[in-house]
Symmetry: C3
């Protein structure tokens, strides 16, 4: 199931926040947290960089690499696993890059739907990181627009399937699901309970006044 | 009047949310909702795409096209009409494109001010969709920077004139006007009413103690 | 100390909001507010533009220019000064530009850390404006990616050191620190006090029933 989606811009602190959220979930469930890495080791320098990150996380996370075919890797996990997937933008970037000139909006969206609905249906619990990339100017090239639009769809689907969604802005987590609207509903409920309490008080007061 | 402004990045679910908001307003007012489309049919392919969208909305909205001179079209509407305008970014893009090399910051802002103040003064009720495009890196070309800056101004003016503003992020509506600050004020008010209630309770309790 | 960080996209109203916040702080402290400008007068046109802005602000702010070596200028201020720094993005842009081909991620981050920790440690009170630039597509050139990533780090550090952080969206201030989470805590507290009140009411009611 998708416990939490953490979205944010570049260097907005999304991974750091998602790591803390995953560690808390894992601690409460008494399991070792997993880190599902999505980067592709395209050359020895990149391989060295990936290894360095695995080492940096080693005291907190066991890393599994899933740059492609993520659901196959997810199917090898314990049913009670708690996993951080970091991140959708890189994973979709690989699909987009692999497809080359044959890339299509429909194919990217179908892949995202299969992946995210697959994660939502499975028993391990996932915290998913993704990039918000749609709040700048429209990209000039069609392929980049397709990447941006498809990632927007993936993010919206992930958020719809998640129990909780956080947007990180300059390192600050802003919870957007459950939404402010729900907070307001709770406040209204509280207010109506207050009125109920007041009218009972009125009643109580009049009974007291009647009492000899 | 401008009932609601819905802002969001690419594929952030802003149109879907704005459609729901418009349908609710129209339903409560017992009128058929209108959809004011802003795309220009530059070629037969685009014309076909526009027609397809009109058909997809046909069971819910009556579509009017207003890629230019929107206030003239608005002036033909019933005074109690409820209209979704989708979207400011496309409408301003057409102005920007039409102006070509003669485009200027001042002219774009004057056009936006006339349009938005015009909508605010008229009796039909408008839900307006626009794109947030200012949270990426500064565009390299001056014309694109001008587009981005002018749309930022249009969005801020639309938001200032609107009763309600929502930012959609990954399909999730985040209400930003009325603001959290107002929510906090309501909470403080609630808290002061609670203290009032407590002091009345004290009073009531002391009267009860005195009573027998 | 860093009182308030105001982040926003292009033309999102961040300076206007930060000016109001600074004026309020200065008024409450009975001091003349300072405006620390960061633009570099690269040519006579830019110099004229800067002077025009200084004049426009003259009735509200005393302007000090600090396009480089900001801490040196800060050290000449009164200890009880209230200052608006507008903005980090321009200030870092100058560092980035000055470094030219020798620019490095580490150097930019070290400069930002020295600056922001320096501001936080000093006694004058700072309101800091910065741009959110990380929510668009990844820039194509490595130098621009470096700028974007380093500014993301500066913004996160500034936000971490600040008592208050606001994101402006289409002219609307959205407070993100103290966070919604804190608002929710206050609501829960309010709810538990309500339950307390109810149980006292129960007790009161039973005593009233017993009383006559």
């Amino acid at each position: 199931m998708i416990e939490h989606v953490v979205l944010g811009g570049a260097r907005s602190g999304k991974t750091a926040f998602a790591e803390r959220a995953t560690l808390t979930l894992a601690e409460n469930a008494h399991v070792t947290p997993l880190y599902i890495a999505t980067a592709v080791a395209t050359d020895p320098e990149m391989r060295a960089r990936i290894e360095r990150h695995v080492q940096l996380r080693a005291s907190r996370f066991v890393t599994r690499e899933a740059p492609r075919d993520m659901l196959e890797i997810v199917d090898t996990l314990d049913p009670d696993a708690v996993c951080l997937i970091d991140c959708l933008a890189t994973y979709m970037g690989t699909l987009w890059h692999d497809a080359g000139a044959r890339v299509s909006d429909d194919a990217l969206i179908a892949e995202g739907t299969a992946l995210l609905e697959g994660l939502a249906r499975r028993t391990p619990r996932f915290v998913i990181v993704s990039n918000e990339v749609g709040m700048g100017i429209v990209p000039e090239t069609a392929a980049v627009r397709m990447y941006r639009d498809a990632l927007g769809r993936w993010n919206a689907l992930a958020a719809a399937l998640a129990a909780r969604v956080t947007l990180t802005v300059a390192g600050i987590p802003v919870q957007i699901k459950p939404s402010q609207h729900d907070t307001r509903s709770r406040e209204q409920e509280l207010r109506s309970r207050e009125q109920e309490l007041r009218s009972r008080e009125q009643e109580l007061r009049s009974r007291t006044a009647d009492s000899p």
